[in-house]
Amino acid sequence: MNWITGTLGSSIGKKLMMAITGFSFCGFLAAHLAGNLTIYGGKEAFNGYAAHLHALGPLLTVAELGLLTFALVHVITGLTLFLGNLKARPVRYAVNKSAGGRTVGSATMPYTGVILLAFIIFHLMNFHFVDKTDTTIFNIVANAFSNTGYVLVYIVAMVAAAIHVSHGFWSAFQTVGANHPKYMPLFRTVSIAFAVVVGIGFGFLPIYIFLLA
């Protein structure tokens, strides 16, 4: 069995784990955004979406546990890679200059990652681990986003998510070896497009609710 740990524990194996979990989060973001868009349909539509989602029952629990496992893998592997990379250059350069390869996304992956982790914990505590017996999810959301502070936190987090995704999406293709002259330019364009969709799609929701209130 040690061929599995040997392969996954190598630098390329760790990258593979980052890529596969990252891809899954991209899929999750797309599904989450699609669900959230029902908020534009009004209170009933949004509560209806939540009810349908929860009607999935055990399926939803499996999905949640899956996401939690993937999140742990992504965070722990990411942290291991970050620390390993720091160690790989013990004496830093006095003058640092990019040759033009790095992007805002690629250069800030660990930092936007930490912001996202903190945000996800905050977000789950706000909307997931709350008592929903005497209220609806729409009321909880509407109440939270009547507060300017919450709106700002969410916008900052969504900008971080967009930046993180702008590098993560195409980078995952490169990591699994899917670099092809016909498709790579498309992956890089889609990466930016997806980042914009995530940033504006999620980021505008708190503003919309704030303006509605």
Binding site: G13, L16, N85, A88, A94, A99, G101, G177, N179
Partner: protein, 254 residues
């Protein structure tokens, strides 16, 4: 009429691997713009020698951009800011009179400083050694077309084989990763039919050795591709990933 310029150099000086090292300032005067960067350092070293001071140690050999011996970080860029050139092919015409130039050695845990700007890049040799060896038989040459290789594939293999092992990819990588180097060495063989029988073993051993030597992990920053004097593409890194994962999960090699 030759144009000359005067420069201020901030050069990393370090007596040996145990020394902490520091920047020293030197003045390079009446430098012809036709000189290469290394020739400019030669002029500075001549003056240092005349003054009875220790000359600046730096690596170099062919001075034609094909041997891979030279290389320093000039103003934060490996081999300087010109695209697709080694340090020996960087000419002083790219600098202006009065410029201050910071010169540092390639920095990575796997590259120990030997002295000043000279670093020990034998870690790269160890990665190549881990890949095995090729036999070059003497005697009558085999018929040229006995093994068919499409021209396009041969070109890709030659593009990868352009790597001169200078270490600029490691030096310019924000993570000090040797993935571009390793990927070029794996690709040049994996692409050709002659390299196929040992492809799985080669990929596994070279990546393992690369990890053991203390290089960082590739995060697809693509700085290496932008800085490589031979303009080796990161498509080779994707190929290395494929070769390695294929070998790790599907080959019989352990």
């Amino acid at each position: 009429m030759t144009k000359t310029i005067n420069l201020t150099l901030k050069v990393w000086r370090q007596k040996g691997s145990k020394d902490k090292g520091r920047f020293d300032t030197y003045h390079a005067e009446n430098i012809s713009t036709d000189m290469s960067f290394l020739e400019m350092l030669d002029v500075v070293n001549d003056q240092l020698t005349i003054d009875g001071k220790e000359p600046i140690a730096f690596d170099h050999d062919c001075r034609e951009g094909i041997c891979g011996m030279c290389g320093c970080v000039v103003n934060g860029r490996a081999h300087g800011a010109e695209k697709g050139t080694t340090l020996c092919q960087l000419h002083m015409r790219h600098f202006n009179n009065g410029d201050t130039i910071a010169i540092e050695p390639f920095r990575a845990m796997a590259f120990k400083v030997i002295k000043d700007l000279a670093v020990d890049r034998s870690a790269l040799d160890k990665i190549i050694q881990a890949g095995g060896y090729v036999s070059v038989n003497t005697g009558g040459a085999q018929d040229a077309n006995a093994i068919l290789v499409p021209q396009e594939v041969a070109d890709l293999a030659m593009d990868a084989a352009q790597c001169i092992g200078c270490g600029a990819c490691v030096a310019s990588c924000p993570n000090a990763s040797a993935m571009l180097f390793t990927s070029a060495k794996v690709s040049q063989l994996a692409l050709l039919p002659q390299g196929k029988p040992e492809a799985a073993k080669r990929a596994l051993n070279m990546v393992r050795t690369m990890d053991e030597l203390g290089f960082g992990n590739c995060t697809n920053e693509t700085e290496c591709e932008a800085e490589c004097p031979k303009e080796i593409s990161i498509t080779n890194i994707a190929r290395l990933n494929r070769e390695y994962l294929k070998a790790g999960f599907f080959s019989r090699s352990m």
